[in-house]
């Protein structure tokens, strides 16, 4: 019997990359040595724009670093564009619609209806500001209606899949990693959406404004306890992290003091989630409670220029205090340097040598500051620069799960794939239920297995391992190597296998595979297997496929048949032979093996 692997939903804890990384026995000295060698190889440090027609390899590098997974349509978007036009396109912001009720089939189950109550929102209408399912049968507040949560998450993933040739979603991941919350645990779906929306809307704005806004964001008020802080005994959690992780950076690089943390906690106390807004329709919001605010003056250390912020006792006054505080956070040079470094590490290379610090980070941080802390203006300079196009930066980072998984599903055009039901196909009465054929509802089902893969590879939206984000983005000296361990490797290979073989599991019985023939025809030289493999290698791999791997793949896929057999099969296919079973079968093995190569893990 054909038995597609059924996926079960992921376990309660996201996998821990650092944990898994250390399971492997690694020679660190060697690793560090190589790392320091590698940064020496950079030849070009100039931030001057390259300003020339980009070659295929340069376009490819730019797309890989700007998008969440690349595929053919993005390359086509760049056709005929000049250097400046390419950047105009990439730095165009996208829009993010509110998710709508595409989960109504999930509600059609009696049990669910009883458990989650009525749903006021009609199919196709937005639900993110609707409060109807937030109380249980006893009219008590309850966390998380998972059907709606799933719909929000699927909405994000679907948008990433269909992203334009724009840096917007990559920046979204950058900000989510740098200033994370745990997806609104404890503040329901309204809070999750509110947080995602703030992150998304802040990508093209001023990072400084964003710090002001995130401080008052309900999900953040809950995540780092500021919302529960009391003026007699203020909670220091947010007061510390907003300095250490979001602006001036860690010690010893920045020298804010414990008193600064305490003063910040006093300054910040009194900003609360407006729970009224959580329980009724409309956007969830915050409030400022002067009676719960420490109205005394706050004195900061010399690190902040001995700044004294006057205590105030009105709502407006509290906002003024916060404004002055955020201004103060950007007063030390450490802030612009820290954020510039984080940008560089995320988009170019996690390792920063002294030379890069001097020649790239320092001048770039001036751009960041003078553009009123605009992430996009800073990145535009960086991604246009000669330094960015130094070949030592090509394929130099290991893909994050988002780069890997979306690279796979976008390349294979999975959302336009084929729905299979092996049991029914065998019985000869194959039908696809409406919920899976209707595009609106279908995405909900497709994005689930994608989310599980992301989770098992160590990075899921709204589930950062800590307020520091994901270790591969910040934990020196290991950095991106953290993405690779025996558990994640296994899952990467399984994901590809599912996409091209059994299909990703949608629901009992139904799987979605890519259209292999369609994918085959996305290549030029398909008759000659050697040429095909070279073409695949050029598009997908960090370096040309080795002759040994090529032979290994052919031997493994052809089961002893001669290469000419492949050519015959392709000819038959081109001449209208409907029975593509054999060629699909061979090609599926080829896809699987090419994507399994270590070279596919680099970007």
């Amino acid at each position: 019997m054909v038995n597609p692997t059924k996926q079960t939903s992921n376990k309660s804890n996201p996998i821990d990359l650092v944990d898994l990384f250390y399971k492997e026995k690694i020679d660190f000295k060697e690793l560090l040595k190589n790392r320091s060698n590698s940064s020496k190889k950079v030849q070009e440090f100039s931030l001057e724009p390259l300003d020339q027609e980009l070659t295929y390899n340069q376009k490819s590098h730019l797309l890989r670093r700007s998008l969440v997974g690349t595929c053919k349509r993005h390359y086509e978007d760049l056709d005929e564009l000049s250097f400046d036009e390419i950047y105009d396109l990439i730095f165009t912001d996208e829009s993010l619609e509110e998710p709508v009720n595409n989960y109504y089939y999930r509600r059609s189950n009696q049990e669910w209806n009883e458990l989650y109550g009525r749903d006021d929102v009609l199919p196709g209408e937005t639900f993110v500001n609707n409060a109807s399912t937030e109380r249980n049968e006893n009219d008590e507040y309850e966390n998380g209606d998972w059907v709606r949560k799933e719909s929000i998450e699927s909405h994000m993933l679907t948008n990433i899949y269909y992203q334009k040739t724009s840096i917007h979603w990559k920046l979204f991941l950058f900000l989510h990693n740098l200033v994370p919350t745990d997806g609104g645990q404890g503040i329901d779906n309204k809070g999750i959406w509110n947080y995602y929306k703030l992150i998304f809307d802040s990508c093209f704005g001023s990072y400084k404004d964003f710090i002001f806004n995130i401080t008052l964001n309900p999900a953040m008020l809950v995540y780092l306890n500021l919302g529960q802080s009391q003026k007699e005994t203020p909670d220091e959690n947010y007061a510390r992290e907003v300095q250490e992780l979001f602006t001036v950076g860690k010690r010893p690089f920045s020298m804010f003091t414990e008193d600064d943390v305490r003063e910040a906690a006093r300054l910040l106390v009194g900003h609360r989630v407006d729970y009224e807004t959580l329980f009724k329709d409309g956007e969830v919001s915050y409030q400022h409670n002067p009676w719960d605010h420490d109205t005394g003056d706050k004195q900061f250390s010399s690190f902040y220029g001995n700044k004294k912020i006057e205590g105030r006792d009105t709502e407006e006054g509290m906002i003024e205090e916060l404004n002055e505080f955020v201004d103060m956070l950007f007063y030390p040079d450490q802030s612009k340097l820290y954020i510039t470094r984080r940008l560089y590490q995320f988009f170019v290379n996690p390792e920063i040598s002294d030379e890069i610090e001097q020649k790239v980070i320092n001048p770039l941080s001036e751009v960041f500051k003078s553009s009123n802390y605009s992430l996009t203006e800073t990145l535009k300079v960086l991604l246009k620069s000669k330094h960015f196009f130094d070949e030592s930066n090509f394929y130099s980072i290991i893909k994050s799960p988002y780069d890997y998984v979306f690279g796979v599903v976008k390349e294979l055009n999975l959302f336009d794939g084929v729905i299979r039901n092996y049991d029914q196909e065998n019985d000869g009465n194959f039908s696809i239920p409406e919920r899976l054929s209707n595009l609106e509802t279908r995405n909900l089902y497709i994005s689930n297995p994608i989310r599980w893969s992301l989770s098992e590879q160590g990075m899921e939206l709204g589930r950062p391992p800590s307020v520091s984000g994901w270790p591969p983005f910040y934990q020196q000296p290991v950095y991106d190597l953290f993405w690779i361990n025996s558990v994640t490797l296994k899952n990467k290979i399984q994901t590809v296998e599912q996409c091209c073989k059994w299909g990703l599991w949608l629901e009992d019985g139904y799987n979605m595979t890519c259209d292999k023939i369609d994918y085959l025809f996305s290549y030029e030289n398909i008759e000659d297997i050697d040429l095909l493999l070279e073409e695949m290698s050029e598009r997908l791999l960090s370096r040309s496929i080795s002759e040994m791997d090529k032979q290994r793949i052919i031997t493994h896929s052809f089961n002893g048949a001669d290469k000419i057999h492949w050519t015959q099969l392709v000819d038959e296919l081109k001449n209208g032979n409907d029975d593509s079973w054999e060629i699909e079968h061979i090609f599926e093995k080829i896809i699987f093996q090419v994507f399994s190569l270590g070279e596919y893990n680099m970007f």
């Binding site: 019997m1 054909v2 804890n13 821990d16 650092v18 898994l20 990384f21 250390y22 399971k23 492997e24 026995k25 690694i26 020679d27 660190f28 000295k29 690793l31 190589n34 790392r35 060698n37 590698s38 306890n225 529960q228 802080s229 009391q230 007699e232 005994t233 203020p234 909670d235 220091e236 959690n237 510390r240 250490e244 860690k250 010690r251 943390v261 305490r262 030592s392 394929y395 130099s396 065998n426 019985d427 000869g428 520091s468 000296p477 991106d480 190597l481 690779i484 361990n485 025996s486 490797l489 296994k490 290979i493 040994m548 791997d549 029975d579 399994s596 190569l597 270590g598 893990n601 680099m602």
Partner: protein
Amino acid sequence: MKRRDFLHNLAHAAAVPMVYNSLGFNNIGFQDLLNNSDSTKKLILIRLDGGNDGLNTLIPLNKYSELSNVRPHVILPENKIIDLGEKDLGFHPELGRFKSLFDEKRLKIIQNVGYNTPDFSHFRSMDIWQSASDSNQYLTSGWMGRYLEDIHPLYPEQYPTSDSPHPLAVELGQSSILTTGINSVTSFTSNQPWDFREIMGDFDNTYPEDSIGKKLKFIQIITRQSNIYGEALKTSYEKGNNFDNYPNSDLGRQLQVASSLIKGGLESKIYIANLGGFDTHDNQVVTGDTTKGEHANLMKNLNNSIGALFDDLDLNSKSEDILVMTFSEFGRTIVSNGSNGTDHGTAAPLFVFGNKVDFNVLGENPEIPRNAIWENNLETEFDFRQVYYSLIKQWLGGNEDTAENVLFKNFDQLPIIQSKYIDTDGDGVSDDRDLCDTTPLGAMVNTDGCEIFSLPADNYSIQTNGVSCSGKSNGQITISIQNTDHIYNLSIPEIDSTYVLDTSNQHQLIIDELGIETYTLNFTVEGQEGYLQTFEIGITEPPALSAKSSVNQKSKTIQINVKGSDLYYTEVNGEKRSYQIDNFKLQLRSGMNIIKISTPQDCQGVHTEKVFISEQVKHYPNPVLNTLNIVIPGEDNSTTVKVYDRSGNLINRYQESISFSRMISINTSQLPSDIYVVKVNGQTVDQTFKMIKR
């Protein structure tokens, strides 16, 4: 095992020839006996992430009224606190098992552990604790990593080895800097050792020496390594997994895994578990009932998990050799905050569990100012590195200067292990009887614990090469000696020969043309009267290869049991592999499979087997009226269907090609009603079923 027992056991142990294999698990050799006194002592560390509130874990009852005053939100009701019965201290109400372990004299409590100039950042303070640095010192390695590297100076280049076949440390929860050494990471992480699966894609590429090539190489190495250590952990886990009465919590599961690995014979010395969630800024307690809330849940989890661990170890007689220690990056503020929580603080109590601990409470009850505000924090009485230093000296062992090497300076020791169990130099003779308590690691000692002239067992590398086939005298013994400072005399009475190994032959020797016999190798060292090292080495006829197999049609596998060698080569349909175990499973494909098993010795023969794995066909309807449908999974393009009557005569034969739907239909309308036998054959199908024709 005590070192003097080694002497006793040497003669016996020496009979086992040592065969070195850098990647295998030939884990029997008397190498192991030598290290036994150390490797049986294990340490389980439990890291409490987030900063545990010491004042609500171990409560100084003499300061109860002050505490009520300054931490009103979280103070536990006095009548619910478990009285320790000593020093005016009490446990959190959920720590009943801590109390009983204390009563059983298996708990050491050290109060007020911390460091000077405390740092209040989680990340930084945890780094300080795990790297064992000063407050203002930034280290990129952990103390446990440095310790393991100090006692295994050749790690990782030559590991795994025959005397250290397993990871040096096992991390069960989230990893950290703790086991990162100066040269390498010394631990292996596995929270689900049973879930080991070989990863496909074990490439064998050579990559360029640039940074990208190195990353590619890294991916390749990880694939291989996880296959090797993963299998060792799985084996140990399955062997030792016999106690499941742990709380259903993350920590409970981690300790269950640690215990199972230890019971299953894993030799790793260090096990690290963790429990997160101690950062109780808010909801540490529930309003109205401070015995409930997040902290109470954590205490309960910790209490029950450690309790279960000791139940398990006691039941399996393993508790003698285990020490368990908890630690956290800091305690919490003396004062509570308005969100029913506490903020980042400083010193806190630390707990060490074990049968051999110096059971009591060390340290004074903390001072609680009656009018404490946030700025007031608990005073540190003991530097946490005093604890580490004492652990190395009193439990973990090492060379004389190991503790100083690891922690960079001397610290005053704290009594953690009862003195009668302390064996500072790890020679198997505890300090109270040890006349020489600074014997270097691995040296041979007499019953007074003093070094006698000896050479480590792995000084002699002896291999029996080219074991002869029956009737031939082509056996060979290859000897090479590591310590080349001496001149060695070797006599072998069986062939009446003597040899000298010295610099003239680079301390290497090959003795060949040996027949089937047991040879006695007597090594003496010039100038060292009384030193005699004997090995009995058998040149034997290799047994014939024997193999038993059982086929599982459903999973398409064949389970093979083999005997006769240490290494087996398998070939399944042309695909070759090798195994160093005698029980393994091979994956088959549908259709005919040819399986060959052989060994490096030609004369042991080749075991050949042919196994046909059929796809499982389905057929319907039954009884059949006209059309019989047969679904044939798999990949065959065509099939033969034969219909026989009840006396075995072939009635009909169909040659059908199989379409994409994998179904073929047979018209049976012309058949009379009766029972028929249908045989379906193809390249990968061989199935027979009965069909009733209506």
